[in-house]
Subunit: 212 residues, 2 copies
Amino acid sequence: MEKFKGLDEEKQQKILDASLKEFAEHGYEKASTNRMVKEAGIGKGMLFYYFNSKKDLYEYLVEYSLDFTVEKYFNQVDTSETDFIERLKQTAQVKTKAQTENRNVFNFLSTYMLSTEIKVPARLQKKYEYMQEMGNRMIYEGIDLTLFRDDVNVEKAFKLIRWSIEGYQNELLHSLQGQNMAQVDFAPYWEEFYAYMEILKKSFYKEGEREQ
Amino acid sequence: MEKFKGLDEEKQQKILDASLKEFAEHGYEKASTNRMVKEAGIGKGMLFYYFNSKKDLYEYLVEYSLDFTVEKYFNQVDTSETDFIERLKQTAQVKTKAQTENRNVFNFLSTYMLSTEIKVPARLQKKYEYMQEMGNRMIYEGIDLTLFRDDVNVEKAFKLIRWSIEGYQNELLHSLQGQNMAQVDFAPYWEEFYAYMEILKKSFYKEGEREQ
DNA sequence: ATATAAATTGACCACCCTGGTCGACTGGGT
DNA sequence: ACCCAGTCGACCAGGGTGGTCAATTTATAT
């Protein structure tokens, strides 16, 4: 692995992108090292020179993706915002940015989370659980509960709001399928998103407790 | 194909289940006819005796799944219910029932809808589009718009409510992963689901326009 | 009972792809 | 001149592919 880290950034990135993508699309077993090296533009031997085996490569990618997610996503959210919906608006923005900058990491990680075909070492498993815990804190910690209507269960309102936002993001992602994310003008979609957020506030917050 | 339809129901079902499952899990290209026949408990030759080729089998399954969905799902929903959330409650119940009775069809169809690796004949494509149109009508046709609050856009409220329900269903499905659906006691989950629906009514409907 | 037809099997085919290895080659440092 | 880390891709044995077909069992008709 030290071999790999000695490479110049650009080459590293090409190899990471190629292998993250391959694993994300095909899962562990059916991912092909041949396709990876072709996509990355390196000789077959090099992949096994940098990483010793397919399995080692996979574990390296898991750790890389976890670190990436914590640093470029979780650590960017300002947890001093106590308005739940505002907090989620912010996470949506940060997430979109991180996702646009490196889609492969997100795709890889989400297939990794669902898949059960391979078990990683305990150290990585721990890291993964720690990351989930961190993600929860990023969303729920320090939220001002008094903004919510008194006649609805706050826990359930949390979930409904999160599901709504995930639903919007999924639909948007699906409708933008195939387009190069880097060159899509997101402005109108943010407008639309904010409109949805306003509705959620009207619906789930107390009357008159809303800003402006 | 007539050969296949002449079989007794039980054998047909075994073959359908095995191949729907295989295609759903691996996609068209990587699905293995060998695994299908092993799972179905028939000789290799028979699959190509009933259906002429892998492709023909796939198209048969698409049509079968579309017909199944329309008959056992769409046609069971009572569209005389004009309360949007009540209508969706009902579709959720019908869907859960149909899904429990034949999970493979739903899994196959949802991967088919996302996948782009194979294009089916125009006739099937038309049938698919007709089914989507039918699904929309099942959900939106004849809905009483006056129940909704005046200060929110109804179209957007529709979507928020649907996303919420889909979110709940996904989370439930995920938490029940691996268990045999046929022998899960759904009663407490329906309780929980109804609680969520009540919150949605409180949030998105006019004050005092709610039943009881 | 016999002849004919239909259903069913699985060994077999030629081909493709797999993760991983290894001898050959490169270019820069000494 | 020698060394050596870096790089390549032909090559390996093994396994899986969709599809075929001669052989056998089972059902049907006479």
